[in-house]
């Protein structure tokens, strides 16, 4: 792995990694710092790397494939949504 694979440790690159389990729930796989690496001699593809903020171990190394459909979402969990459901109602009158 090249040196460029070490992500900068700042808030901007700080992420939580989740994977979807068989019960369709998101499992928290840890918090770390993310970076994208360019092809190197060892690895001929672009990859997304997440290194743990605790011990620097690699939480994720994922090749960016051309056919993978990435989605950028501004999503929070359903549970979180329900908390907000009523927020706006206090500002109105029936």
């Amino acid at each position: 792995m090249s040196a460029s694979a070490t992500p900068p440790t700042n808030n901007r690159s700080r992420v939580k990694l989740y994977t979807l389990n068989e019960e369709r729930q998101w499992d928290d796989r840890g918090t770390g710092f993310v970076t994208c690496i360019s092809p190197t001699t060892l690895n001929n593809s672009h990859s997304i790397i997440v290194k743990s903020e605790i011990d620097g171990s690699t939480l994720l190394e994922s090749k960016i494939q051309l056919h993978t459909k990435y989605q950028k979402q501004q999503v929070n969990t359903r549970e979180t949504m329900n908390i907000f459901r009523n927020f706006i109602f206090v500002i109105r009158k029936h």
């Binding site: 700080r14 989740y18 994977t19 993310v34 994208c36 056919h67 501004q74 109602f89």
Partner: protein, 337 residues
Amino acid sequence: MIVWSEGEKYDLALSFQEKAGCDDIWENICDVQGKDSTTFLTNSTSDSAVYESDDECIESNENYLSTTINLPPVDLTHLRDICDLFLPERVRDATRRDYLARAIESNNYVRKLIELFHMCEDLENTESLQQLYEIIRSIFYLNKSSLFEILFSEEFILDVIGCLEYDPTKQRKHREFLNQKATFKEVIPIGNQELLNKIHQTYRIQYIQDAILPAPSLFEENLLSTMNSFLFFNKVEIVTLLYEDPKFLSQLFSTLKDDQLSDDKRKDLMLFLKEFCVFSQTLQQQNRDNFFQVKHSFNEEYECVVVVAFVGTCNSWNFECYSSDACKSNRFINCSE
């Protein structure tokens, strides 16, 4: 947040602390895949009903599906054809949904549909209005934030709600309700026009979610997840703007402390404060710290109000809350909803 699948069942999500970080990685991915990361709204004024796709779509899609979606012209004779664009077998494929959404975006299609809607309302053409209901509803279920941006814009949102009145199974007067019955109450006057607009928009979207298109099942709720996100981020923005306003919280607390305050008004304020606290707990850490800093500065003077408000947040449905003065006089106001 960036979400993708690897292999058949392995879904991954990266949740970013900062939006900028998300945008960084997103740009990288788009670069590698040869896509334009800034593609969002293309305000094409072209009248052409044919959507010409970009080259990269063909490339990434290996010609598996037609990348050009010909949208029928928006007129009475083509309403059935437009409805048919959204037939289940035609929107099952996620890639086709993307192309359809982009075609709708870039052809001013929503505007044309709304214009046709006005015409049909004038003609009292119920059959066509019900088809328009079906079309607008189907656009919601494409679940694309770029389309929600258009549907929820100040210009269109009431007309969109108008279209949604023509549900063949239960016709309801949503616009009348929103215009006449649901007047806004400002617990504390809000001077910021942008904030007010955001609140009004959010209220209307919330109304759509709760009253017009309530999710009959978890499955359908997922289909409208982007609308949820849209609402969520509107609310984050509202709360952020409120706590950044140097006068808002101080006015809130000094009003609460006022002996002359009516019980009704006090109740409104406490309900508001309660929601505000609940909401703040789920903001991102950074915002939350700021929020509690603001709160802390009021803590000494209005300790009782704040503490009680927090107690209130623990029992979310039925609780009694006190103002600082009310505590002393052993008076309480029931804020149960």
